[in-house]
Structure formats: structure tokens, C-alpha cells
């Protein structure tokens, strides 16, 4: 009845809703990492999308060159990318902490050009497929929609990792150091905590989260050198809408905007690429500090 009113078959609606949720969980994981890094390091990591892409590409390379399967890549790829990220933090980013925020943004934008340019030079601009793992092929027919196993898994895995990060930061001892460092790093250092090392580890954690998301995305979207830039701009908009003050806020905003995007794809496909930016404009009008932001 409702579907007849809307003029959309329920299959299509729920399928797009699922894609929206999957995308939304990616936005959530990426904006979460962005917020954690910004809180501790005072740097907006423009290269977050590039490292997400690197995560997917490393998984592809592991499969292609060494025959390492998806499940191992899910752990190995984030580790490799995190080590690379921590090296970047030590060598480059740690020299920028005393400067204005915009220098961090500019330097990481330089990293984007470097990382994406290198992958483009090595692998060209055509996308590369990554096979869905054998166990998760197929899906369930739920009657009102077809649920592909892999997408269900991605949604659960991404959300589990998001909530894992939330638990780690809000409920563990190291997490409390991290929150203390976000509030006042010098005071924390005076209590004998090795703050520079914590910053490196925080960056590694955020980057690993991005790479993990990249591996999850690889079988759904093709592995592509530019996949990171398209998503990072959306994630920036998500961060503006949600504000970077709260971790749960980042997760909720990411999911909600992903779903909004999915709905738009059903009812007004032309606007699906821009709807998140329109929502951002509306939020700026009504609540400039963001839905979960603090003034």
C-alpha cells in the first residue's frame, strides 16, 4: 500500500537502503578516525581517503601477488598501512603540531597527491575487481528484499569496529589517556605519559581503521586509485554536519547520511551525489557548530 503510494518497488527501496547503510558505515568509520586523529594531533588528515584507498590496494596486491586471501588481508592490510602511516607521522606530521591547523591540512593534501599519484602511475586509472570471499557469496531472500551475504557482513563488521573503537576510547585505561591528551596534552605529559608515542599510536589507530574500511569496500566497489578522494570529501561534509566532538555522534551522523543518500538514489537519482552537501548547507544554516558539536 505504502509502496504503491510512493511508486517505488520495495525490492529497489530496500536494496538502496542497504547500500546506504553500507556506505554510511564507511562514512562512520572514516569520520571516526578523522575525529580521533584531530582530537589528539590537531591535524585534519586529508590523506585519510588516500589511506583508505591504500588499504584496498594493499589487499588487492596481497591477493594478486602472494595469493593471500581476504580474511588474512583484513588484518594484514590495516597493519601494513598503519605502519606506513606511523612512519609518516614520525617523519612529517610531527613537525607541524606547533603550527596553525591549515598547515596540517596542506601537508596531508600534499600526501594525497603523492600517494594517489604513485598508485596511478603504477596501476593506471582503471578499476580492478576484488572477488567476494567464497564463504560470503550468495544471499538470503527475505521476501521483501534480497540480502547479499557480503553486504550484511560488511555492515556488521564496520559497525562492530566502530563500536569497538568507541569502547576502547571511552571505557579503557589507554582510551582515557587519549581523551586526556585531547583535552590537555601538556598536563598529561606532566603525569609521565609518553605523549609523542601516544600521538603516533593514535595516528596508527585512525589509519588502520581507514585501511580496514578500504579492505571491506574492495569487493563491493572496484579497487581504484581515486576511490579515496571521492569519499574523503563526503566524509568532510559528514564531519561538518556531525561535529568532531563526539564519537557516537560521528557514527550516527555517518549512518544517517548514508541512508539519506540511499533514499535519494531511489526517489531523485540526479541529486544522490549532492544530497549530503545540501544537508550540510542546511545544517550550517540552522546549527553551524554541527549536530553534535560543542561551541
Amino acid at each position: 500500500m505504502l509502496f504503491e503510494l510512493l511508486g517505488v518497488p520495495p525490492q529497489a527501496l530496500f536494496a538502496q537502503l542497504l547500500i546506504g547503510l553500507v556506505n554510511g558505515s564507511f562514512y562512520a568509520a572514516l569520520s571516526l578516525g578523522l575525529a580521533v586523529i584531530f582530537g589528539m594531533l590537531n591535524i585534519i588528515n586529508f590523506a585519510h581517503g588516500a589511506l583508505y584507498m591504500a588499504g584496498a590496494f594493499v589487499a588487492w596486491m596481497l591477493l594478486h601477488h602472494f595469493g593471500i586471501p581476504f580474511w588474512a588481508s583484513l588484518v594484514l592490510s590495516p597493519l601494513i598501512v598503519a605502519v606506513f602511516g606511523m612512519a609518516l607521522e614520525r617523519v612529517l606530521l610531527s613537525r607541524l603540531y606547533h603550527l596553525d591547523h591549515i598547515y596540517g591540512l596542506l601537508a596531508t593534501f600534499g600526501l594525497v597527491l603523492l600517494i594517489e599519484g604513485t598508485f596511478r602511475q603504477l596501476y593506471g586509472v582503471s578499476g580492478r575487481g576484488y572477488p567476494t570471499p567464497e564463504v560470503l557469496k550468495g544471499g538470503w531472500n527475505l521476501g521483501f528484499m534480497f540480502l547479499p551475504n557480503y553486504r550484511a557482513f560488511v555492515l556488521v563488521a564496520a559497525l562492530a569496529v566502530c563500536f569497538g573503537a568507541w569502547f576502547f576510547i571511552e571505557r579503557t585505561r589507554i582510551g582515557s589517556y587519549l581523551r586526556a591528551g585531547t583535552e590537555n596534552a601538556r598536563l598529561l605529559q606532566a603525569f609521565g605519559v609518553n605523549v609523542p608515542r601516544m600521538m603516533t599510536l593514535t595516528f596508527g589507530l585512525g589509519v588502520a581503521l581507514a585501511a580496514f574500511t578500504g579492505v571491506l569496500a574492495a569487493p563491493i566497489y572496484q579497487v581504484h586509485p581515486l576511490m579515496g578522494f571521492n569519499i574523503i570529501i563526503i566524509v568532510f561534509a559528514v564531519v561538518v554536519v556531525g561535529g568532531m566532538g563526539s564519537i557516537l555522534g560521528a557514527i550516527v551522523t555517518g549512518l544517517a547520511l548514508g541512508v539519506a543518500e540511499g533514499f535519494t538514489r531511489v526517489f531523485y537519482p540526479e541529486a544522490s551525489a549532492t544530497v549530503i552537501f545540501v544537508i550540510m548547507a542546511v545544517v550550517l544554516l540552522i546549527r553551524p557548530q554541527g549536530l553534535f558539536g560543542r561551541r
Binding site: 585534519i44 598547515y103 591540512l105 596542506l106 601537508a107 600534499g110 604513485t118 552537501f277
Partner: protein, 328 residues
């Protein structure tokens, strides 16, 4: 008493003389530079020079916002590209003359700048950069989908036409002098803005906004006005580029273009009047020579970006100025 007065008078006179001297030096330098630009097309390929001038104007407009307003817009390609599309459309489809096409493009960008600026200046610093980037991406998708922009093809074969209905712009040399005039006009607007009371207030806001507010300035109005001027001049540069290449395409609104204007300004020296020009020369030269080597351009631009931020934040002109001051 008399001695002190005489001393004060003397130092005042010498200060005045020094300022007069600096003023004269600047005028002589400007005259030589303009003369060099007038002679340049006889030594260097004019189309290359026109590209440099268009990008230099774009970078000057951007520098007004970043270097003097302290506002990092990461989506300036939106204004550059919008003006390009509007100019191309009005000249090719509506049959407007080139000067009206330039005007239409510039006005469209100013209007877009007014709307985006009005929304963006609600947040400061890092958020401002993210918001402007997001809006620019929105414009990119719009340009990708709107029918009049012709999608991936872009608006091609835009006629250069006759300036004021009289001067034939098809010869590269004639067009070069029009582009030079446009650049000098834009450069002068930026120069006057910076050296006016408005520009001084702008610097005050950049240095300490709460203090400027407490002095009674409506800082958001100053920021918005600067944003609009910057967007309009970026638009003028974009519309001028259409006359040079007779094309408006998605490249003009792409984030890569936004990034390139940031790097020109940073490399040349942000907050210096000549920096963007120098940066534009370097980047356009790199583009021209590396065009055949695919992604190497981006790799090298990325490396320059990092080097600028980590090693020389004053940029080429900033460092040169420091050295010169030490010498004198």
C-alpha cells in the same frame, strides 16, 4: 628641548624620504615589470604566457583570501569553473560579445561566492576549508550533470569573437594584450584592496578576530566581502581562460584545480603581492613539461607541497624579500 625637536623633525624627514624612496622604487619596479610583460610574447609562446597570466590572476584572487584574510578556501575551482562555463555558454550559445561574456561569467562567480561565502564563514579555520571543498564538489557534480555544460565533452569551440565588436581577437598576439590588461586590472584591484583601510581591517581580523570584534568591526561582513571579491576575480580568470583555449570543461571545476591554485600561492609565498604570480609561472611550466608523463605531475606537486609546508613556509617571494632586506 630645541635639540630634541630638531632631532624628531630630522628623523621624521628621513622617514618620509625613505618612504618616498620605497614608493619610487616600487613604481620603477612596476614599470619595468609591465614593460617586460608587454615585450614577453615576442620571446615566449603567447598561449603559454596567457595561461600563466590567467592562473596568476586566479592565484592572486585566492591569495587575497588566504594570505590577507587568513581564510583557506579549498574549493576555489568552483568560481573559476562556473565563470568559465557561463562565459562559454553566453558567448557561444547566446552570441554575446567577449567583453559581455567575461562580465557575465564574473558576475555569476561573484553571486556563487556570495551564497557559498555566506554559508561557509559561519565556521572558521579548518571547518571553513572542508565546507568550501564540499561546496566545490557539489558544483562539480552539477557541472557533470547539467545539460548546458555538455558533461565530459565540455563546451567546445567557443569563438573568441570581436572585442567591443571591433577588435578581432583571433590572433594570439591581440588576445595576449587583452589577457594582460585583464590580469593587470585584477592585480590592481587586489593591490588596492590590500593597501586600503579595508585591507588593514582584514589583516587585523586575520591576526586577532576577537580583538577586531571588540573594536567594533562587523568581522563577518569583511570576510564575506573579501570572499566575494576573491570569487569574482577567480571567475574573471576562469572566463579569460575560456577565450584563450576556446573551451570550458570539467577540469576547470575539478578539485585538482583548487589544489593547484593553493600550491601556486603557497610556493610563491602567501601574503606577498608577487608570490602568486611567481608560483603560477612555476606550476604552469611544470604542467606544460610534465603533461606527457601522466601522474608524475601530481607526484611532483605533492612533493613540492610537502617541501613548502615543512621547509619554506614563506614561499619563494617571502624568502627573497627577507634576503633582500638583510642585504640592504
Amino acid at each position: 628641548m630645541a635639540e630634541r625637536e630638531a632631532y624628531a623633525l630630522r628623523s621624521e624627514v628621513s622617514g618620509w624620504e625613505a618612504r618616498q624612496g620605497a614608493e619610487r622604487g616600487r613604481l620603477i619596479f612596476a614599470a619595468i615589470a609591465v614593460l617586460a610583460l608587454i615585450c614577453a610574447p615576442f620571446a615566449v609562446y603567447p598561449v603559454f604566457l596567457m595561461k600563466v597570466l590567467c592562473f596568476a590572476l586566479f592565484a592572486c584572487a585566492f591569495n587575497l583570501l588566504l594570505g590577507y584574510g587568513g581564510l583557506l578556501s579549498f574549493g576555489h575551482a568552483a568560481y573559476y569553473g562556473t565563470a568559465a562555463y557561463i562565459a562559454a555558454h553566453t558567448i557561444k550559445v547566446w552570441g554575446l560579445s567577449p567583453e559581455l561574456g567575461l562580465l557575465a561569467g564574473t558576475l555569476a562567480s561573484a553571486l556563487l561566492g556570495l551564497v557559498v561565502g555566506w554559508l561557509s564563514i559561519r565556521r572558521a579555520g579548518i571547518y571553513f576549508a572542508m565546507i568550501t571543498l564540499a561546496f566545490a564538489q557539489m558544483i562539480y557534480f552539477f557541472a557533470l550533470q547539467a545539460p548546458f555544460t555538455k558533461g565530459e565533452d565540455g563546451i567546445q569551440a567557443v569563438p573568441r569573437g570581436y572585442l567591443f565588436g571591433v577588435i578581432d581577437l583571433r590572433p594570439d598576439l591581440t588576445l595576449y594584450y587583452l589577457i594582460l590588461a585583464i590580469f593587470l586590472f585584477g592585480f590592481y584591484v587586489v593591490y588596492r584592496t590590500i593597501h586600503s583601510p579595508f585591507g588593514l581591517v582584514l589583516k587585523a581580523i586575520r591576526e586577532n578576530e576577537p580583538r577586531a570584534i571588540s573594536l567594533g568591526y562587523r568581522t563577518e561582513r569583511f570576510k564575506l566581502a573579501t570572499f566575494v571579491v576573491s570569487a569574482a576575480l577567480a571567475g574573471l580568470a576562469g572566463a579569460a581562460t575560456v577565450l584563450v583555449f576556446q573551451l570550458a570543461s570539467l577540469t576547470y571545476v575539478h578539485w585538482q584545480t583548487s589544489g593547484e591554485v593553493v600550491i601556486m600561492t603557497l610556493l610563491g609565498g602567501m601574503g606577498t603581492i608577487l608570490g602568486p604570480f611567481v608560483g603560477a609561472i612555476v606550476v604552469v611550466t611544470l604542467q606544460t613539461h610534465l603533461a606527457a608523463f601522466g601522474a608524475w605531475l601530481n607526484i611532483i606537486l605533492g612533493a613540492i607541497f610537502l617541501a613548502c609546508v615543512l621547509l619554506f613556509r614563506e614561499g619563494i617571494v617571502g624568502i627573497a624579500q627577507k634576503r633582500l632586506k638583510k642585504l640592504l
